[in-house]
């Protein structure tokens, strides 16, 4: 299986069709359950010493310490005192845990293939703390502590993504770091499971069909229309809000008026009643016509989400690779000033570096080696994409591709490949830590070692993102989850 679709299909079929095999391999591949000494509780206090502590990308303190308590980083600095009863952990290099912003781990694998998603579909609904925990453990051992995962990763509209922490747990609530992190849409991905035929007309297996350019541009149009619909919905809601306020104000004024003239009105009314009775006419109550109460726009859950996107509340991640659709996306979204979006894939995006840099649109790159069997839209894919974009001033993020749950483990090595192809080391480190956290609105919680942030810390025996460096300890969510023994 050499294609992305192939790998995905393999992972999917392995997951769905052969549960027994996987269960037994889980038993096999599992180490002995972590000894009591290895795992720890979040209320534990951990004192981490390092010869070099990277607090933020580009900032290193030598011979420093990090104090962790109750799941948070409490202090970072030199000459910190070690509290009594704290568990001590030390190593050469200390840094924040890595983030995989394009992952498939921690959610039920069949949801990756969800084709019927809408903007309101939520990935948190498919977060699965029980299964495939050996994959999460492998990822932790490689230093990846959190991941953004997406239901419907291959669909035109995937829905809302979520950020999960990979620490072992059986409770969903412990896993979710940010329930709604982004909305995901794709343009121009080859559609899988198409029958393909060779030159003699013989069936040659299932492959993927590349979308033709008209279809792709149509997709872009539809995407922009959806955002516009969200914007309109937002406008309608705001208008309704104003109208409601205005109406309520009018009612209040009317009532105040009536209050004022209450006595006179009462007398007038009694007189009129008396008159009518005397004259034998029917007394008609004077009616005050109220203005009609404004009706709210009909609740539409998809538009609710799109409204947040249009307003910049939720970032929109669009997976697109080719020049035509990237150009269409850029020009079509120019008028949507508040929209925040991230371009994923972006194999041909260097043509638009200037615009992407000016409009501060980050590009989420998948630095994965692809052979001849690559899907059509990745024709121009190259490991140097991240480096070229960065040189042009575009913010670059790195992810493992979002289709194979096992690939998150290899993200630090993929970052290494990107560095080897020219990406600046610090930019790579930033892409895996604070840059990713900020782009996904969790920059106040993870991505760097600063007091107040969640305790996701790596203890390494060498510099991070050097392939020969080994991870010795990992603290995730304030617990020691990886030690050299396991």
């Amino acid at each position: 299986m050499h294609t992305l679709m192939g790998r995905f299909t393999l992972a999917l079929s392995a997951a769905v069709l052969q549960p027994v095999v996987l269960a037994s391999s889980a038993v096999e591949g599992q180490e002995a359950p972590a000894s009591p000494a290895a795992s720890s509780t979040p209320s534990e206090t951990i004192f981490i010493r390092g010869e070099h502590v990277i607090t933020r990308p580009g900032t290193v303190i030598d011979d420093a310490q990090v104090l962790v308590r109750n799941g948070r980083i409490v202090a970072v600095g030199k000459d910190l005192p070690m509290p009594e009863g704290a568990r001590e952990v030390s190593g050469t290099w200390i840094c924040a845990g890595f983030i995989d912003p394009w992952a498939a781990i921690g959610i039920a694998p069949e949801s990756l293939g969800e084709a019927g998603g809408t903007p309101a579909t939520r990935s948190t609904d498919s977060v699965d703390p029980y299964n495939f925990d050996h994959l999460r453990r492998d990822a932790l051992r490689a230093g990846v502590t959190t991941a953004r995962v997406q239901i419907g990763a291959g669909a035109r509209v995937g829905g809302i993504g979520t950020i999960v922490r990979l620490a072992p747990t059986t409770k969903r609530e412990d896993m979710v770091v940010l329930p709604d992190s982004n909305v995901w849409m794709t343009i121009g991905l080859s559609q899988g499971n198409q029958m393909s035929f060779d030159a003699q007309g013989d069936f040659a297996g299932f492959g993927s069909r590349a979308m033709d350019p008209f279809e792709r541009l149509e997709s872009v149009d539809r995407l922009l229309q959806m955002i516009q619909a969200g914007k309109n919905y937002l406008v309608q809601k705001n208008e309704y809000k104003h109208e409601l306020e205005a109406w309520q104000k009018t009612i209040a004024e009317k009532e105040a008026e009536l209050e004022k003239d209450a006595k006179k009105a009462k007398k007038d009314r009694e007189k009129a009643e008396k008159d009518a009775t005397e004259k034998g006419k029917k007394f008609e109550e004077k009616k005050y016509k109220e203005d009609k109460k404004p009706t709210p726009p009909r609740f539409d859950e998809d538009n609710e989400v799109l409204a947040r996107v249009a307003d910049g509340g939720l970032p929109l991640i669009v997976h697109a690779n080719r020049v035509a659709e990237i150009r269409a996306l850029l020009s079509g979204s120019e008028s949507m000033g508040r929209l925040r979006w991230i371009l994923a894939g972006g194999a041909e995006s260097t043509f638009f570096s200037r615009q992407l840099a000016e409009r501060r649109i980050p590009v989420l790159v998948m630095p994965v080696p692809m052979g001849r069997n690559r899907p059509d839209e990745y024709e121009s894919h190259d490991l140097s994409l991240a480096a070229r974009l960065k040189k042009d001033g575009v913010q670059v993020l790195l992810g493992s591709g979002g289709l194979d749950p096992a690939a998150t483990r290899d993200l630090p090595l993929l970052a290494g490949l990107a560095i080897g192809a020219g990406l600046d080391r610090q930019a790579a480190f930033d892409a895996l830590t604070l840059g990713a956290a900020r782009a996904l609105d969790v920059g106040d919680r993870i991505g760097s070692l600063e007091a107040g942030k969640d305790a996701d810390v790596l203890v390494l025996d060498g510099e991070p993102l050097v392939s020969t460096t080994r991870v010795r300890f990992v603290v995730a969510g304030g617990r020691v989850v990886v030690t050299p023994e396991n």
């Binding site: 290193v60 303190i61 080696p369 483990r409 090595l413 192809a421 020969t468």
Partner: protein, 384 residues
């Protein structure tokens, strides 16, 4: 609290040529670039922080002298003839990487599907040195590839060992491929079963002729194509019965049978490792090293990108493979398995000048390839 700002390690680029940027990937639209006229294979001396000789020794701050396509001298006291171009490298020089299994250049033509057994079919005739697959390979530091038939049928052909630039063929008959995996069987052509395939193979060796006779005499190593552990067991038994030598390829968990493979005096070609490969397979590669089985890495190029060769080795190192063994597997041991260790795989006087210049530790994927020389001609890096 003093915060010392320090740039995260940034390897310094060698002032290698007027342009400081390394060779950039092919233009976006995938049109193959023509092979630029190679620089003259004259003499060049490279001074580097470290030179890995390939036998475990490292020369620190030494000089490598290439001349007329060969390695003329290497060491700390190399005398460089006047007039020789001298290059300073802040980094490491190693021998070029060797991929032990691939279909570069003609991926759909490496096997003739009309019959299961064509033991005289030589892959050397499918070698197209100008194909862009080889350009991708050299850009990833691979200087030698073993062209192999895919594991189809029973005896699909004879492998060839070629260089990724210059068209040099190091060997036109390196292994006889024998297929022991059920994946090579189809239901509408004989043999349809494992027993049927074994019967065909026994028949071939009952009255051996041509290349089969050479294999039976131990003069031609075999390439045993497998997928599962029982396939390996069958291959080992067959090799024992007919006194064959060679290498086992294809089974990701070969390391779990390392002892049997070692006792049978066979080598292993680890099948290409893609991202997400199950951990058990990566750990089994470390087992091969621990049990002293000689092994190298395969690459099913162009279905897999050449950069996956080094990536796979890095994944194994992460799961416990000794780094020195990983490097030998990519170079010197690989050359032995391919039977071309008299020419390539190490840096030593007299061997071919196939070297790679790295900006740092070559086992770190973050090290850039600064230049690649094949037969003493610079084929990647600088202005070529």
């Amino acid at each position: 609290m003093v915060i010392v700002a320090m740039a995260l390690c940034a390897p310094l680029l060698a002032p290698f040529s007027p342009s400081n940027t390394p060779a950039v990937a092919a233009p976006v639209l995938g049109v193959p670039t023509s092979v630029a006229a190679p620089l003259d294979a004259g003499s060049v001396a490279i001074r580097a922080d470290a030179i890995w000789l390939g036998d475990g020794r490292v020369v620190e701050k030494g000089t490598l002298l290439l001349s007329d396509g060969r390695i003329a001298d290497v060491g700390t006291n190399v005398s460089v003839p006047s007039g020789t171009q001298v290059i300073e490298l802040k980094g490491t020089i190693t021998a070029g990487l060797i991929a032990l299994h691939g279909y570069s250049g003609a991926p759909n033509e490496m096997v003739d599907g009309t019959r299961p057994s064509m033991p005289e079919s030589k892959l050397r005739f499918a070698f197209d040195p100008s194909h862009y697959d080889f350009e991708d390979a050299r850009k990833s530091g691979i200087t030698t590839i073993v062209l192999t038939p895919p594991a189809e049928g029973v005896a699909p052909g004879i492998t060839a060992v070629v260089k990724t630039a210059g068209g040099t063929m190091l060997s036109d008959a390196a292994h006889l491929s024998l297929v022991f995996t059920a994946d090579g069987l189809v239901s509408n052509r004989k043999p349809t079963s494992i027993a049927g395939a074994m019967a065909m193979m026994e028949e071939m060796f009952a009255q051996p002729r041509g290349s089969v006779a050479l294999a039976a005499e131990g003069k031609l190593p075999c390439l045993f194509e497998t997928t599962t552990k029982p396939d390996i067991q069958r291959a080992i038994d067959f090799a024992g019965r007919h006194k064959l030598t060679g290498a086992i390829h294809g089974a990701a968990l070969a390391g779990e049978l390392a002892e049997s493979i070692h006792d049978a005096k066979l080598s292993v070609i680890v099948p290409v490792i893609e991202i997400g490969k199950e951990r058990r397979a990566l750990v089994s590669v470390a087992e091969l090293a621990k049990k002293d089985v000689r092994f190298g890495f395969g690459l099913d190029s162009p279905w897999n990108h050449p950069s996956e060769l080094r990536l796979g080795a890095a994944m194994c190192v992460r799961e416990g493979l000794d780094s020195a063994k990983a490097w030998s597997a990519l170079t010197s041991d690989a050359a032995r398995i391919a039977g071309v260790d008299a020419r390539v795989g190490r840096i030593d006087r007299g061997l071919d000048a196939d070297v790679v210049l790295w900006s740092g530790n070559p086992l770190d994927l973050g090290s850039r390839i600064v230049a690649v020389y094949v037969d003493g001609v610079r084929v990647v890096g600088g202005d070529r």
